[in-house]
Amino acid sequence: MVPALAALPLAGLLLFYAWPLGTLLARVLRPASVSDVLGSPGLGRVLWFTAWQALVSTAATLAIGFAPAYVLARYRFPGRRLTLAIVTVPFMLPTVVVGAAFLALLPDRLHDTAFAVVIAHVFFNVAVMVRLVGAMWAVIPTDLTAAARTLGASPVQVLRHVVLPLMRPALWAAASVVFLFTFTSFGVVKLLGGPANTTLEVEIARRATTLGDIDGAAVLSVLQVVVLGAVVWWSARWQRRAATAFAGGRTQRRARSRSERRWVPAVVVFTLAAMLAPIGAMVARSFRPGDRWSLTAWRTLGADEIRPGISLGVDPLASLLVSLRYAMVAMVISAVVGGLAALAIGAARRHGRLLDVGLMLPLGTSAVTIGLGMLITFDTDPVDWRAEWWLVPLGHALVAIPFVVRSVVPVLRAIPADQRAAATTLGASPLRAWYEVEVRRTWRPLAAGAGFAAAISLGEFGATTFLTRAGRDSMPIAIDHLLGRTGDVPRAQAFALAVVLFALTSAIIAVADREEVLDARGS
C-alpha cells in the first residue's frame, strides 16, 4: 500500500524537482567555482546573518503566534472564520506590496535593520502557527484538559504538562516550516533589511540574475539545500518521536468564564489590529495617488487608457482570471499529491521520513535555481514543456505541498494504532479499516491544507518571475509591474490591485475554512 500511495508524489518530486536541479548542477558546477565561492570573504557573514535571523524569527513567531493559534483553535466566537482568514492573508500577499506598506508603518530609524526583518517575518508567518498548530490543537480532546483541571491542575500546569507535550509534533512542524521560510527569505530581506543584511537566497538571486554568475549561484543553492535538508531531517525525527496518539472529537466552545470572556476577545482584537494595520496602509495608498484623496486609481483600473493614447497594459480582470486558474490547478495538484504523500508517510512509519523530507526540499531550494533548472531540462521533445502555462502552477504546488503534508501528518500520527486493529477485529477488511480510520480523518486537515495551497499560489511571486510567461500576468506580477513605474496613477493602481487580491484571498480562505468546519460537524 505504501509504494502505491507514494508513487505519484515520488515521481513528481523526481521529475519536477530532482531532475531539473540535477541537470543544472551537472551543467554549471565546476570544482573551481566551488572553491571560489566557498572561499569568498563575504560568505561567512551572509551565512551567519541568514541563520540567526531565521532562528530569531522562528522563535518570535512561535511565541507570538501561540495565543492566536490557541484562541482560534479552541474557541467559537462571532467572526472566527473571518479572523482566521485575515490572519492567513498577509502570508499570501506578494511581499513587495506588504513590504511597502510595512515600510510606511515602521518608524524611520527601524528601516534597514535586522529588527524590521524579524518583525515582518513574524507578521507573515503567524499564519503558519495558526494553521499548522491550530489544526492539531483543534483535535486534542477537551475532556483531557478538563480532567487535568478537575484533578487540580492550574491552567499553566495543564498547558505545560498536558497540552504542550501533545502539541509538540505540530509545534516542530510549524517551527521547521517557519525556519525554512525565513532562512530562504528574499523579498522581506531585500526591502527591509538594507544592503548590509543579506541572506543566502538574496545572494543566489544576485549572482544568477545580475552578475550572470550561474555556477556561483548553483554552488550556494546546493549549500542552502544541504543546510536546510539537515535541519528538516533533524526536526522530522523530533516530530515522529514526539507524536502521541489520541481519538478526535469536538473541541471548540464559547468563552465561558469571566477571565476567558476578557482575554479571548483581547487576543482576537490585538491580532486583528496587528494584521490589518499594514493592510489599512495599503488601502489608504490606493485612494491617495498624489497628495490628496482620489478615486482615479480605482476608476482607471479596468480602463483601456489612463490618458488618451496611454495605457499600462495591465488588465486587472484578466490577471484575476489568470491567478484564479493558477490557484485552482496548484490547489488540486497539492491536495492530491500532498494527500497521497501524507497517507504514505503515515502508513510507512519509518521510511516515511525520507518522503517527508524530500517533499520539504523544494521549499528550501532557491526559486532561481529551480526555474533555471526547468528551463534547461524541459527544452526538447518529448519534455518540451518550458513554455507551458501549467509549469507556473506546478511550481506553486512544489512550494505548497509541504503545507498540505504538514497539516495532515500530525493528525494521522495522532490516531491510536489500536483503532485500526479494533476495526479489523469488528470485521472490516484491512483496506476498509484503513479507509475508515485514517483516510476519513484526513479530509478536514486536507481541506485546510488545500485552501492554504490556493492562497500560496495566489500570492506567489518569486518562482513565477523566473519562469518565462506568455499571455496576461498573474496578479502579483501585474502588481509588481505597476509598482516599477514612475507616476502617481500606476503606483496607486498597484495598491488598488493589491486590495483586490486581499479581498479575493480572504474570501477563498473563508470558504475553505467553512468546508472544514462543516466537515468537522458532520463526522
Partner: protein, 338 residues
Amino acid sequence: MNRWIAVTMTATAVAMTGLVSCGSDGGSAAGPVNLTLVAYDSFPKEGTPLNDALDAFAADTGIAVDVVTAGDTGTMVSKAVLTAGNPEGDVMWGVDNTLLSAAQDGEIFEGDPTQVDFGDVCVNYDIDWFVDNGIEPPSTLDDLTRPEYANLLVVQDPSTSSPGLAFLLATVAKYGDDGWQQYWTDLTANGVTVVDSWETAYYEQFSGAGGSAGTKPLVVSYASSPPAEVVFADPPVDTAPTGVANATCFRQLEYAGVLRGTDHPDAAAQLVQFLASEPFQKELPLTLFVYPVDPNVVLPEVFTKFAAVPTDPFTMESDRIDANRRQWQEQWAEIVQR
C-alpha cells in the same frame, strides 16, 4: 460522500499524469509564421499601442508575434545564455549595453543585434524642495559631494539594481579606474543613502514622487521620470514636479536581435527590422519611457517639454563593463558598507 471524494482524487491523479505526458502539442504550423518575442518583464504583452503596432505588422506580413516575458533584463540574459542555440523564442528585445557583451560571449544572437532605443539614468531632484530651501539643485557629480548637498541623495545598490549600476558606471567613466573609489568615499562621507531597488529609492525615500513620504530630495532615476510624473499625475498637472541634473547621466542603450537557433531566421530578421522602424519606434516613449533610436521619429509633447536629452552623457564600452562589473560592484560594497 467521502468515498466520492476519494474517487475524484484518484481520477484527478490519473488525469494529471495524462496531462503531463501529453502536454506539449508540437505547434510547428505551416503557412503564416508565428514568432515569439522574448522581452523583459516591463514590456507589455497585450493592450498597449506597442502591441497594436505588432498586430499591424502581423496584418501586413503574415508574421504573428507573441510576446513572452522572462524576468528583468539580467534574468532574461542569464536564461538566454543557458539556452543559447535552443532559444525560448525567435527574437529578443531589450538587452542593454551593460549586459550586451555578456550576451554576445554567450553566443545568444544570430549575427549582431540592432540598437532599438536609449535612455539615460540621471540624478533627479525635487524642484519644490530646492525652491523652499533656497538652494540651487546640483548639476554635476562633483556637486553631490559638496556640503550643501549632504544627506540629500539616495542611490541604489549597483549589484541589485540596474539604475544603481548605471550610476556607478557614470562615476567610473568620469573619475577613471583609480579615481572613482575616492569619489564614493567622499559621497559616503557626505551621507549618501543606499537602498536595494529603484522602487524603494524613488517611492519610499525620494520626496519628489507624488504621495511619497520620503524626505530625500535627490534620487538616482531616469531622465524620462519627469515626463512620466506629468503623464500619470493625479490630479493632472502642467509642470513636472521633478527635474534632472544634466551632468550626472549615464546612457543606457537597448538592443534587439535574432536568437540563434530560431526556426524562422528570415521572419525573425524582418521583425527586428520592424522593431527599429518608425511605426513601432514612435510608440516607445509613452509606453516604455525610452527614446526611439530613429532620430526622425517625432516625440510626444510631454517628452519635448519635460525631458531634456542630456547633451553629453557618460558612456562606456560594453566589453569594459563586462570585464569589470563584478570587481567594481565588490569594491563599491566595501567602500559604501565599510
